[in-house]
Symmetry: C2
Subunit: 289 residues, 2 copies
């Protein structure tokens, strides 16, 4: 069963809440543009998969958790694409938000999506205030300072980079948020689910490095070789292409091994395996590595 | 009694929570820079004054409310000063954040402060989850889309501007948040306090227009004539200087009249009167109006 319709409905409902007759129309439109097309929705999929593995006894809370994570992720893409960061003209195969709407609205769209993420959780509190508050705390620590994705991005402005803090914050934080929030949304202890999220995040980073090294811009839907251009650390430059693929496989085996015992353990292992297949690149026939 | 030490302590404590050994040091420093020097801290002062007028039975919640409002306000200043908006080089008499730390860190500092505002409220939930959730909802609707300060700023990118929605969102939203959150933090119904916040916000807008028209850059600590330069609506251009001062006095009388009956009513009236005195500019002797 695919989670996509459930995720898209939850995100669309959140975006509608940010729109009204009295809202500035172009910014309202930019919010919708910023979260679509959906793509794999990998973080909310992980979040809901964990919630379901844990019983998903309050689906409205799990939906809010999944939506909040994706809104923060989309906000970070909108801001990261801006000229002062990656200066990316395309994203998901269409003009990036600042190219389509201008820099002021891109900046505001990102800000609004961050706020909306917390609003979604605050509204979900009607179903279970204790869980909603726990979700907000996890989301906050995964997004902001000192250890969330803002911190991760912040490391790129340092002359000396703390590599493990950088990776943990920049890519890992929202993946651990996804597993932790999935568990918390279903009333389970989030701590036991941190390792799964961390390993999926690590795998995602290696897979991203591989795609960056192997694919062209048309396939990827965004500019390639950005790590090299921006002198960011990269698994392929450290391990080579085949080494990076082996590393990816190891990480995903570890991810599956880390899954806590729970009612939906088998289905969750299956989800991680499917994620692994999607992440692992097929080497082009002409590739020398 | 001044509220300043209480407010500064609460804000400093929030900023410390965003800093850690593992945080990127320049972004950590930019957070501190973004909220200092404090200046009048007018929004948190209003928030705490209302909370105290309502009994202030849980001061930790009121502190969190006041801090969250100020963090959102500071975030909006950091982002508004950036080159794609006002392109302001100075703020509070020192280089704006993007001039001191560069655009990437200014963007991230604003994002981090927004997230921190919600984290402060999520942490305060330990004292009273119901009030904390109510505060988050008010803060969200006052900050984001469709009617918060992001929406207000968004109107400046429209070809046709909805003036009342623009003013209500751009300046009014955080002032109504201040009175509403002050009341909610003390367990009172926030609705009764909306009008006071709206009127103080209106007064502040008129006073800002007056200062913009009357003072020079050195006195103001930021660039002048920004409304004219950016073709924004302005009370002085509509009513003239003396007309705008009369309008300011009318609004503040209305603000005092709107204060709901509460234990600390007299002290609160006094606070509004003091705010009025601070806001009303002394006409320079040479002014022709």
């Amino acid at each position: 069963m695919t989670l996509k319709p459930r995720i898209e409905a939850a995100i669309a409902s959140a975006i509608r809440q940010g729109q009204a007759q009295s809202a500035p129309p172009r910014l309202a439109s930019a919010l919708d543009y910023s979260v679509s097309p959906g793509g794999a929705r990998i973080r909310p999929t992980i979040c809901l998969s964990v919630a379901m593995a844990c019983g998903d006894d309050k689906p409205a809370i799990a939906d809010a958790a999944a939506t909040a994570i994706e809104l923060i992720h989309c906000a970070s893409l909108v801001h990261d694409d801006m000229p002062c960061f990656d200066n990316a003209d395309i994203r998901r195969g269409k003009p990036s938000v600042h190219r389509a709407y201008g820099e002021p609205l891109a900046l505001l769209a990102g800000d609004s999506l961050i706020i909306m993420a917390f609003e979604v959780l605050a509204r979900a509190a009607e179903h279970d205030p204790t869980r909603a508050i726990q979700l907000m705390r996890i989301l906050g620590s995964s997004s902001g300072m000192p250890g969330g994705i803002c911190a991760g991005q912040g490391w790129e402005s340092e002359s000396e980079i703390n590599l493990s803090a950088y990776h943990r914050a920049k890519t890992g934080a929202l993946f651990t948020a996804a597993t932790r929030m999935g568990a918390a949304a279903a009333g389970e202890d989030p701590e036991a689910w941190t390792e799964l999220g961390a390993r999926i995040g690590e795998a995602f980073q290696v897979a991203d490095d591989l795609r960056d090294a192997l694919y062209d811009e048309a396939t990827l839907g965004k500019p390639v070789n950005q790590d090299e251009i921006n002198s960011r650390p990269n698994a392929v430059s450290e391990l080579g292409v085949r080494g990076a693929i082996r590393r990816l496989e190891d990480i995903l085996s570890g991810a599956i091994a880390s899954i806590p015992s729970c009612p939906g353990e088998a289905a969750l292992c299956d989800m991680v395996r499917k994620t692994a297949e999607r992440l692992t690149p097929v080497l082009p026939a002409h590739h020398p590595a």
